[in-house]
Amino acid sequence: MLAPAVVVLVVVLLVPLLFSLRMSLFDWSMLSPTHRWVGLGNYRRLLADPGTLASLGITTTFTAVSIAAETVLGMALALLLNAPLRGLRAVRTFVLLPMMVAPVVAALSWRLLLDSDFGVLNYLLAQVGLPPQLWLGRGLALASLIAVEVWENTPFVVLMLLAGLQALPQALLEAARVDGAGFWQQFRSITLPLLSPVLLVTLVFRTMFTIRVFDVVWVLTGGGPADRTLTLSVDIYRTAFRYADLGSASTLSWLLLLVTVAITAVYLRVLQREALA
């Protein structure tokens, strides 16, 4: 019974993965019919390359700040939407809208909004007497990308946390209220600990997706200005499809995978500790 599932798993998951691992051990160019074995040479070269290290740093910053902002904002919105207020059903649908827009379409829309000369944001600033900003310029490009990422993905965090909040044992919260616990005390001592498994799963998902960010960066900045927003995924794309260097691109992909696995392992460890506690 299990055999078809195993075959599908091997064909769909394992074969491409192992093939890319193999490519990462070769000097493998699409332009050349022969491929030279280099062992760990690609890994050594790329880990010593300041450009790759800079990309790794940018990707880490982007991921950490985006996820922190999404978590705080997502939690706040989830708590708000969990409150027994009228009209929240419509608000819930509205909050989820950004998640339903295709990332490229969202990025293109933001490109129009953030345009320094013809964009809506600078128009609004001008209306209140503030100077225009170069939203995708040297100082603000990374922050703008993070803002778009947070805008697009906070709804996912809201969705997950709201589901978690609605599954919490109401009796416990009720008892705390009767005992005179305030909102903050309830949140810190009951809601957050009980919600932590859901929160950690959400963080695992969001980290895995955010660390591979491509669409938003490619459309809005293309990695610039001056490579200041060059994330690893954009670097992988350029290396594979612009330079036809599949060996280096596979190596970068494996480095990204290893970073993701390391972060996920930390999350899972925390999750396990929480489950045992």
């Binding site: 699409m30 332009l31 293309g222 610039g224 200005p225 001056a226 036809a244």
Partner: protein, 431 residues
Amino acid sequence: MRVRTVVVVFVALLLAAGSPGGPGLAQGKPTLRMLASAGGSGASFAAGVSEFERDTGIKVDFIQAPYAEVREKQLLELTSGSGTLDIVSVDDQVWLPELFHYLEPLEPYVRRDSLDLNAYVPAMLNLYRYTDPVRNQSALYALPIRVGGFVLIYRKDLLQQAGIAQPPRTMDEFLADARALTHGGQYGIAFALKQTNYLTSQFFPILRSFGADVLDHTRAHPAFNTPLGREATQFFVDLYRKYKVIPQGAITYEQDSVIAAMQQGLTAMTITYSPYVVVMNNPKASKFAGQFTVASQLPYSRDSGLKTGVTMINGWGFGVSRDSRSKDAAWQFVKYMASPKAQDLMAIKYANSPTLKEVYQNREFQAVFPEALPVLSVLDHASSRTGVVQWTRIEDIMSATLSAALVGDKSVPDALADAERQVTQILRSAR
């Protein structure tokens, strides 16, 4: 029994999907197959393809895909030697170094059919000649089908109001005019300064009009970090940082933003692709339709020893796959698409940038593209990208270099020295 049925079906499918020109023959004529870049070019080529099918009865399986996908799929198909592609799209010197191994040299076909190559704009034809660096043999690998170049587009009314009698002929005049045209929220020049390969595409005509180049004549060493190269780069950066004759928001501009800046009256001059003048003069989209025109030359630096600016041209050519099983039919198609009939049709009705000199003289074409003659005059003095396999990577390095200098992360000498080190390393590692 079941196994045999599966095998029979498999073989039948294999034959049905078989190679063009072989089992795919329809009424004795082959079905040709090619990939082409989607968008404006794809649309105009599709019109030519339909006409070819009507005239010859030869079917063309014409597949359009985004630029990067065309490159990737073509390479994969050609390197496999499967012969499934008969016609190959060539983005001139950018793709030729990686494709020429898989293309038929066209000289024997040209001789056999007495095709007059002098009918083409010489610079455009040269885009598809390539010298094999190992054998040191040069050949023509494609015919030019759609080639455009960078020209100086300007607002006639604004230059007139500023008392500027004619468009700038030298870089000094270009700067002086730009400064005169920069006032009250209006800027002299629009450039797309976002870190893309379009940034470098705009910069190369300036670099070459200062008498410098990206690589030296051996194609083995960088040549941009020379006194003239530094002068050109400093000039380009100063237009934005020092003289501020380019809108500060241009650091995030792409091609479409340049067109918008011109159409909305934010800027007075730009150096961009020639077909954009038509878009700028479109009354439905432009506030200043009818005011845009093309200068008959690009500005040049007096220090360069040149007598006119040197633009950069690029575009699509079609070649014949070495592994095609229908080479003659493929050549017939390539020749057709480069013929006066197809070139006229595509240029007049589908805004294709023609490659035959006679199309520029065609009254019908001039009626839809009044700037035809000045554009031809600029494109006559053209250079192309340098044909090396590492070109795309070099272009990305140049783009990051210019971007760093434009935002002030690095000085021009530091940025160029850094780029020179990177390009040298890439060229060396390929040897």
